[in-house]
Symmetry: C2
Subunit: 299 residues, 2 copies
Amino acid sequence: MIQFDLKSYLKEKRHNVDSALDAFLPQPEGFSAPLLEAMRYSVMAGGKRLRPILALAASEAVDGVQSEVMPAACALELIHTYSLIHDDLPAMDDDDLRRGVPTCHVAFGEAIAILAGDGLLTYAFEILARGADANNLNSQKTLKVIHVLAKAAGITGMVGGQTVDVIMENKEINSEQLAYIHKHKTGALIQASVEIGAIMGGGSREQLSALAEYGAALGLAFQIVDDLLDIEGDEEIMGKPVGSDIKKNKATYPALFGITKSREKAQEYIDKALSSLDSFDNKAEPLRAIANYVIQRNR
Amino acid sequence: MIQFDLKSYLKEKRHNVDSALDAFLPQPEGFSAPLLEAMRYSVMAGGKRLRPILALAASEAVDGVQSEVMPAACALELIHTYSLIHDDLPAMDDDDLRRGVPTCHVAFGEAIAILAGDGLLTYAFEILARGADANNLNSQKTLKVIHVLAKAAGITGMVGGQTVDVIMENKEINSEQLAYIHKHKTGALIQASVEIGAIMGGGSREQLSALAEYGAALGLAFQIVDDLLDIEGDEEIMGKPVGSDIKKNKATYPALFGITKSREKAQEYIDKALSSLDSFDNKAEPLRAIANYVIQRNR
């Protein structure tokens, strides 16, 4: 078999996702133009598009159709972007730089940034519900996707994780609390991305369960690598300052377990993610390559 | 016909809604307990439950089943409460008091208040998607409700209206801009409440269209009365300071058109709302009574 070319794959999918996002996001016009401009600014500032690409790749693994997954893939990125905007706010992490450009509240003011986040979160559900046509099968799948997405983004997922992250800032943290933050703040939405792609792609119950396992392990590895990059990363490549976790006395994996142990743990999760794909054929090659990429990434 | 007893009706429905909200909201436990506590604090602080009651009353008008509408009714109140929490934030209206108690950010801090709002908004969609069972008809109706709700709450509705309200603070405003704010900030979700009740209740296309008209007119009347109460209201009855719009130099209907003209305009909208119900029988009596209540209310 020819070696799978992940770089080209990511480039192509990122391009597809960017086009779809551009088409979904309203043009900044009318009285509320600043809101629409702020939403567009943050979404189009770039980013790896990891979550939408995971949804597309999971759909491919179960023989799904890309155009059917695209609204859900974009919804994932809108929700990811909203979470970054709100996390960056002065009352939260108070970050000035994101993806190499000023954060939303620095560029548009705090009120508009809060509203842009609210707008993106709501719009994610709007494009999902809009995408479902009179086809009953699609309605069932879309409702399931909305349910998975809301759980992963909300109080039992991302919002819950961010809450504990905020509460524990400047406090002693134990490994159980750190695991909670990792699993909920980042892991939940990454796992949901894979699940959502598999649902919209029409995967079987067994496939869904294997891909959920893949997504869960990948999400945990991703967050450990994120913590490592905050220590070892290159500021210019990452587009944001390194060392900010330490500066804010934030709980991280390397702070609790050391760099070597953290690297090992990330690799363990990646191995677990890969073995969850054992029963899949080469249509899961993109998911396999993404798992290896996540641990080698430098931004 | 015996005079419809609105007071008892509102009391009974408010009780039903409060019980359902209490059951939907998770108990504050686990690492993210402060988040769940803040959500519960703001939702259970009281309020008229106007939006859920409108949904229930609209469902009754089309012969719907209350238990089928209740998740959507609660979702409306969760979204209404999230919007109050975010609007009250220091970066927005900076209000300390709401429904007679300290606002969420005063009680729980700004970060938790932002997250509680995010959590409530996301949870609204979660309970809607969760409520849909394997029944195809229900799936179709639920997806339609999610679509209507997201549009009314998001950039083309409430978030859009709040944006323009924020942008225009301390600026000269014309009647077109004021109409935009009223229609989007408050009107959209009130109209959606009526529509959502009618959809879940299984109303016909004609009924939906008449009820949407009712909801639109009611929403506009409601906001004008709100503006009037900020000038003429009783602080103790309302549970929040009066005169805050003037203090913040906010655009209001009476500021632009005077008190007398505003009262007249509100009554015009109420008349329009009532005439939209002409083709309905006495099952629409609650909706008629609510319209008359909206213009006579003192909080």
